[in-house]
Amino acid sequence: MRRQLAARLVQSLVVVFIVTTISFIVIRLAPGDPFSYESSRITPEVRAHWRAQFGYDRPIPEQFVRYVVSAAHGQFGYSFSMHEPVSTALAQSVPRTLLLTGVSLGLSFLLGLVIGVTQAARRGSWFDRASGAVLLLFYSLPDFWLALMALLGFAYWWPVLPAGGIVDPVLHEYMSGGAAAVDRLRHLILPALTLTLLTAAAVARYQRTAMLEILPSDYIRTARAKGVPERQVIWRHALRTALTPLITLLGLTLPVLLGGALFVEKVFSWPGMGMIAADAIGSRDYDLVTATVIVGSLLVVAGNLLADLLQMAVDPRVRE
């Protein structure tokens, strides 16, 4: 078990390093640089001075070695689009993204699980067919489109929720603890709901399939024969076994959610890692792009590692 864990850790670090290297090179090979933005006032000399000041005029391999050395010391460079150290920018934005994706992950698994189990238990019923069609619809929708529709529906046509931001920019600071929490929750609903609906569909379909494989099992038939109530058969006996595949899905969903957060955060002006990454790519903010890729890949491999560990913990066959 320990050897397996150590091997997975090493694999994960290699993956992070490769992803970092690729993103480091690709963003620098893209046309333009942090100082090539349109401005009639900035002379080429000034731009060249800035490039030299931050070492962007050096060959890419030299820049890479410098970056790796400083990253190893915990320094991820300076963000030109945010005018602060990258570590400071990430310290503010990562918790916001974790909050959004964490809530969405929890809600999508809860919703997907309930729907998937109910669908399996009522296979072939109108609920199974109707919910399957609705979930397929959400599963097929592009994330930015659903986000825009949610914005239009609940912030403009029926303005019951705020259109963007993480809190009310003015009044939040003057609210009592409870009101401030409600304010934050109101700002969280639309982006979290968008991400939830997009991923809940996949979870439900996965869960339904897993349940349908379990329900014909002998031990389920035995439980029914012994007179165990159907609700207990489904939610206690069958679900426990059918949950194992969901753990794998947990690891796969994290990168999907982080990718979705990039668009959803942008639409709802949620100043998390996805939004600053999108802006950083547009402004060729090299250090910030690379750092967000590092953090993103770390989160993804950590999620996968956690899923593997959980799999090992609950399924003896995986351990062997």
């Binding site: 931001g165 003057y174 603890g177 100043p271």
Partner: protein
């Protein structure tokens, strides 16, 4: 067990997001709160390094210039300027120096008095190569700054020009030496100190939550009197969020409301439109040099007959209505109509497709058969048009131009690029044609940058490589004339010559439709900076809403 853990995790994340947002009490006198949506975060709040609009609109509230230009935007001499940080100024008899007397009442926001040494330090900061201010070259005519006494700063010029006062008053935003002076110039750009600006403006800085908001409050002890509203909050938002917030009242102001959505503003009971002509114009620039071999003339655009024919083949008025409805402003030439020396009566090549086709025929570009692309010596009349993907109006114009030029036998390939990619290609001359927006200075120098021969090369903005000695001479005379009437006459003759040479198709002047909440009363808006008089915007007491009643006392930094 798992649910409480989830709750605990969420609570930790919620608190992490709230960590620097300490609660304060809401009390104090009313005045109102302005929430201004901006398209992105400020690049910097350190005036010498500000190069983008959001940074400028905020630093202009926090800092003062020595004198402020009025809405006439008259840049010759000092008639168009009003005292600001300098309560008066005295010209030397030979006009080679100007002595500015600092208002003795002026104080920095930390309470320290403003001195002539601050002015001298400001000049050094803006011109030191180690700091590399984007404004450095605009101050090249200023030789030095000396201090006659603690409240008198003297600017010495290399040569006497009509715009030397403008060079000082418009380009230099005065910053405090005692705040920034301790940090070497080459370290200032990344120093934490520039994130906490201390100025003399009628608003003072409170906080900057990167990517989230910037808050300013009225400086009640200001030497020019407090700002009329208590507080301004700038929030970066996506276009969709900006639009929704301003229509629902969550935000009070949004610059450049989407042109295809203006009808929503007209029918809104919450927000109203403000049409703002700006100091910028948009055109389809045609490169005179071959991008494949820059020493050679462009195979298509080097011929003035082709350029004029293409100009005549597009319906500029029709395109304007198509893209902007009734809110557009037609381009009249290489100038914005808001400039003091603009002339909107100059004749532009008329829309005449038959004449355009005849002109192309006479230039040797003929159609092999009806409906086919014209050719000359086996080369098709085909070129690439670069368009910034960030501009919806220009993307629409590109499609309309493509279709109209197709009808006269020219093939246009549209290449949409993000600004970071497009700009280097434009600067390096790697393009056939580009839909460019040029934001110009109020002075003739802005026109010289874009259309004079001196503007060709790395220091200028003449990316088309257009060159005409007559235009150069006329613009030189215009910028060197001390008589505004003569200066304007020279400039207009230069414009007429450029228009006749047709190095570009003049499409539209940049007119923003800004959205503003109906409860707000604005002050005069200048074409170069709509925010110039923001401190005089007000919210009548009977129209104030919850966020207007927070007061000032609670917002002390």
């Amino acid at each position: 067990m798992r649910f409480p853990i989830l709750l605990l995790g969420s609570a930790v994340l919620l608190s992490a997001c709230t960590s620097n947002e300490t609660a304060r009490t809401s009390a104090g006198p009313d005045g109102g709160t302005l929430v201004i949506d901006v398209p992105g975060d400020a690049g910097t709040l350190f005036p010498p390094l500000v190069s983008e609009e959001v940074g400028r609109m905020i630093t202009d509230q926090l800092f003062d210039r020595l004198a402020e230009i009025d809405s006439s935007l008259d840049v010759i001499g000092d008639k168009g300027f009003a005292p600001r940080l300098a309560k008066s100024w005295t010209w030397a008899p030979d006009s080679m120096s100007i002595a500015f007397s600092i208002d003795p009442k002026a104080r920095w926001h930390d309470g320290k008095p403003v001195t002539a040494a601050d002015v001298r330090y400001t000049f050094h900061a803006f011109t030191d190569p180690k700091l590399s201010s984007p404004s450095m070259t605009l101050l090249s005519n200023i030789d030095s700054v000396s201090t006659r006494d603690s409240l008198t700063a003297v600017f010495w010029f290399k040569k006497h020009t009509p715009t030397e006062f403008y060079d000082v008053a418009y380009q230099l935003v005065i910053i405090p030496e005692h705040v920034y002076g301790a940090v070497p110039f080459d370290k200032l750009a990344t120093s934490d100190i520039v994130r906490h600006p201390v100025g003399t403006g009628r608003f003072r800085f409170v906080r900057w939550d990167a990517g989230s908001r910037i808050e300013l409050i009225s400086d009640t002890a200001n030497y020019r009197g407090r700002a009329k509203v208590d507080r301004v909050i700038y929030t970066p938002a996506s276009p969709a969020t900006e639009m929704t917030q301003v229509l629902t009242g969550d935000a009070d102001f949004m610059e450049a409301f989407p042109s295809d959505q203006v009808a929503k503003l007209d029918s809104s009971s919450v927000a109203r439109p403000i049409v703002m002509p700006l100091l910028a114009y948009t055109y389809m620039a045609m490169n005179m040099r071959d991008p494949a071999a820059k020493g050679r003339p462009h195979p298509i655009f080097s011929d003035v007959r082709v350029r004029r024919a293409l100009s005549m083949a597009v319906d500029r008025v029709g395109m304007l209505h198509n893209v902007f409805g009734n809110n557009g402003s037609l381009g009249h030439g290489p100038f914005a109509a808001t400039l003091a020396f603009a002339d909107t009566t100059l004749p532009v090549p008329p829309y005449d497709t038959a004449a355009a086709a005849a002109l192309l025929d006479s230039a040797g570009w003929r159609r092999p058969a009806a409906g086919l692309v014209r050719q000359k010596n086996g080369r098709p009349l085909r070129f690439t048009l670069l368009v910034p993907s960030s501009s919806l109006p220009r993307r629409r114009y590109a499609v309309l131009i493509q279709e109209q030029l197709r009808r006269i036998g020219a093939q246009v390939d549209i290449d949409e690029l993000d600004p970071q990619t497009l700009n280097p290609r434009m600067v390096n001359g790697n393009f056939d044609a580009v839909l460019n927006l040029f934001g110009t200075d109020p002075a003739v120098g802005g026109t010289e940058q874009a259309w004079a021969t001196s503007g060709i090369g790395p220091m200028g903005q003449n990316h088309t490589h257009y060159s005409n000695p007559v235009v150069d001479a006329l613009l030189d005379s215009a910028s060197g004339s001390f008589d505004p009437a003569k200066s304007n006459a020279y400039a207009r003759r230069a414009f007429a010559t450029i228009i006749a040479d047709a190095p570009a198709i003049w499409l539209y002047d940049w007119t923003n439709v800004n959205a503003i909440n109906r409860r707000i009363t604005t002050a005069t808006m200048r074409a170069d900076e709509w925010w110039a008089n923001l401190a005089d915007w007000s919210i009548p007491a009977d129209k104030r809403i919850a966020r207007d009643r927070i007061g000032l006392a609670a917002a002390a930094p």
